[in-house]
């Protein structure tokens, strides 16, 4: 009988009145003794659930038949339970000591990176592979219609220039070993976004006027188209869409745990670009594509050199800092392309 006694209130779940009781911990049992008539009840641990121990809150014991026990001296009661060998759940134990909590925080950060860098791309890849090509083409058509209704405008390039680019591209595609179905669309966009080309799901490549105007070299334009064709062949856009959907699904589920603003950040980062690996794959495809057409890696290398120059003078807009982006930096890609060019010379 060394275990201390605690004042507590016993409620039956039907009346707010409640009765005052003394609670004692005896091994794996609680003994509740009424303060009014001294009648005692013994409840074994397996027949109850306990609220987690908190610094300033009472501890609540949920008993059978809707009864609850509220122990105001939660901290003292917790010590008495510990002395008798009662244990808390893993989640509670992790939160009771600062070193463990901080370790959990670090682990969360690490997992966040792993989820974003590894698990998500893998799942997205799997989802893209499982999507029938017909559905992918349908999505592409819808996306283009959506973009046309939004910021995209008709191309204002000379018709001859457009035909020339389209003809060269079609010939180059025909020279590929595998059969690739793709279409080229010309559009323009107001503002700095005009310096761009992108692949839609299903193989449609959209080339914007600004890029053609600033890069006057047709070999370089072909290099860019080869790069976008690489994205199309590897179904990167579909994968990317799957990634964004997966990311927003997870963030929505986590919503209550993170503040609203913080929860939006991963989604926002996700929208910035393709993954590092996707860009590398597209670059590799583009180089193979150019070589097949007797050109080699040089036009694409020169294109990135030009992009770098334009970035420095602020013509194509500020990029997000590299740590925010999984996009390989222009320098990194240039370095790889330079190696390709040198290998060709040897």
């Amino acid at each position: 009988m060394s275990s201390p006694t605690f004042d507590a209130w016993l409620f039956n779940g039907r009346s707010a009145q409640g009765g005052e009781v003394h609670v004692t911990v005896h091994g794996q049992k609680l003994v509740l003794r009424s303060k009014i008539n001294g009648v005692a009840r013994t409840v074994p641990a397996r027949r109850m659930r306990l609220s987690e121990p908190l610094l300033h809150a009472p501890r609540v014991v949920w008993l059978p038949k809707g009864f609850t026990l509220e122990v105001p001296d939660g901290a003292g009661f917790t010590r008495a339970l510990e002395d008798e060998g009662w244990t808390e759940s893993l989640a509670v134990r992790l939160g009771q000591r600062w070193p463990l909590s901080l370790a959990a925080l670090v682990l969360t950060a690490v997992l966040l990176v792993v989820l974003y860098r590894t698990v998500l791309p893998m799942a997205a890849h799997w989802a893209a592979e499982a999507t029938p090509l017909a559905l992918e083409k349908q999505i592409g058509v819808e996306v283009l219609a959506l973009l046309d209704a939004g910021r995209l405008q008709a191309s204002r390039l000379d018709e001859e220039r457009r035909d020339e680019i389209a003809r060269r591209f079609a010939e180059a595609v025909a020279r590929l070993e595998e059969e690739v179905s793709c279409e080229l669309e010309f559009r323009s966009m107001p503002g700095p976004g005009d310096f761009n080309a992108f692949a839609l799901p299903g193989g449609t490549i959209v080339l914007l006027d600004g890029l053609v105007r600033l890069i006057r070299n047709d070999d370089q334009v072909l290099g860019v188209l080869g790069h976008e064709l690489g994205h199309a062949v590897h179904r990167h856009t579909l994968r990317h869409i799957a990634e964004v959907i997966g990311l927003s699904a997870v963030t929505q589920l986590l919503w209550g745990e993170i503040s609203g603003v913080v929860a939006q950040i991963p989604t926002a980062i996700g929208f910035f670009s393709y993954s590092r690996d996707a860009e590398r794959e597209a670059d590799e495809f583009a180089v193979a594509f150019l070589r097949r057409n007797g050109l080699g890696a040089e036009p694409l290398h020169d294109f990135f050199l030009a992009v770098q120059a334009l970035e420095t003078v602020g013509r194509v807009g500020m990029r997000p800092p590299d740590f925010l982006s999984t996009h390989p930096s222009t320098e990194e890609r240039l370095e790889w392309l330079r190696q390709q060019v040198e290998a060709e010379k040897r």
Binding site: F11, G66, G191, W255, S259
Partner: protein
């Protein structure tokens, strides 16, 4: 030992017998303690790809309720995580449908909206029921009168007004004069919608066999929204000016054309949103909560809400600044600070101590989905 205490109690009651009994809600939560709970919840939620978040939500809600006390007794939360998870999945599907179907086809979008209108009132009702039945005080669960016809009668009109522009934009040009007028009409009915939902929530709630009654002042709601809108304009202009000055400074020092920078654009957007949250939201929340609580009755019991704009804005400003400075790590401390101010603003005013509610009441225990649904849609506006 028992007798003197009982007498003491009686003496106290006797002294104040003709007047009234008042009790302020107390909040005993601790930022550092909740931080550790939050971290573990976050870790487990990530490891389980979001599935544990339902358990985390139950644990978090219980933390805040167990630390809320009235007359020395804590509130308690009994939400079943399985039900919360189901509710969240339903909400996720509906939200995804609402976000994506219109981009796929107009017909699919219209079907989704019809589905939302058909299910919405029921979901909202179930969400309220789940929330109240999961909360208890002195062992007694709160109740919610889940009357289906009443739910549809009250909430369906709100949903129809809410979606009216979207529905009609399918058939008519969005720039038609009457569509613009309709859009303005929908904006003007925001206070009415909020008022309707609040009245529904409070007037259907009950405790110990007695229902709550509420007579919130609709004109008061309109007044708060009008002043809130003016404050919104003021804050918008000031924040816009400030970011304009900052951008010019950044542009001239780095040589980057700000119009070309998406990052800078989203930073400015974030700054504007945070300014509105810091200065406009506290005003609206404080005033509306005061109106709602001070017109709520439970039997002879009234509520006095001492929540006010300035102290609330102080708490929010501090929370926003520290959360930004700590890259979000202050968030759990912020949640505790905000809860402390909001909870401790509320005073229960009655003729008699709440402990005298002795009526025997049935406590029907049911597991319900739908709580998560209201959570995700943000329908649960302001306490």
């Amino acid at each position: 030992m028992l007798a003197p205490r009982a007498m003491e109690g009686e003496a106290c009651t006797a002294q104040r017998a003709p007047s009234r009994w008042e009790a302020r809600l107390e909040f005993t939560g601790d930022g550092a303690e909740y931080f550790r709970i939050w971290v573990v919840n976050l870790l487990f939620s990530f490891v389980t790809l979001g599935i544990y978040s339902a358990w985390a939500k139950a644990r978090k809600t219980r933390y805040f309720w167990l630390n809320t006390r009235l007359e020395g007794f804590a509130f308690d939360y009994h939400g079943n995580p399985g039900a919360i998870l189901r509710g969240r999945l339903v909400a996720l599907v509906l939200l995804a449908a609402y976000t994506w179907t219109f981009q796929l086809s107009v017909a699919a979008g219209v079907v989704t909206i019809c589905l939302l209108c058909a299910l919405g009132p029921w979901l909202f009702m179930k969400a309220q029921q789940f929330k109240l039945r999961s909360t208890s005080y002195r062992g007694v669960r709160f109740e919610f009168d889940a009357d289906i016809p009443a739910a549809y009668k009250t909430i369906l009109p709100v949903l129809l007004v809410w979606f009216s522009t979207t529905i009609l934009s399918v058939a008519f040009d969005e720039s038609a004069p009457f569509m613009i007028a309709l859009g303005i009409g929908v904006l003007l009915s925001y206070p009415w919608m909020h008022h309707t939902l609040k009245r529904y929530q409070h007037s259907r709630a009950g405790f110990g066999g007695r229902t709550f009654r509420i007579t919130p002042d609709l004109v008061g709601f309109y007044g708060v929204y009008l002043l809130g809108f003016l404050l919104f304009l003021l804050v918008g202009v000031l924040a816009g000016l400030m970011s304009g000055i900052l951008i010019t400074a950044v542009a001239s020092s780095t040589g980057v054309d700000p119009r070309h920078s998406r990052l800078l654009g989203s930073l400015v957007g974030g700054f504007l949103a945070l300014s509105v949250y810091t200065f406009v939201w506290p005003y609206m929340a404080a005033r509306l909560q005061k109106i709602v609580w001070e017109s709520t009755r439970w039997g002879d019991t009234r509520f006095r809400n001492e929540i006010a704009f300035k102290p609330l804005a102080g708490v929010v400003l501090r929370n926003v600044v520290l959360t930004l400075l700590t890259l979000g790590l202050y968030w759990p401390f912020a949640a505790v600070a905000l809860a402390r101010y909001r909870v401790e603003s509320l005073v229960v005013v009655s003729k008699d101590s709440l402990g005298t509610v002795t009526q025997e009441i049935a406590a029907p225990g049911t597991g319900v989905t739908g709580e998560g649904a209201a959570d995700l849609f943000g329908l649960d506006i302001g306490l």
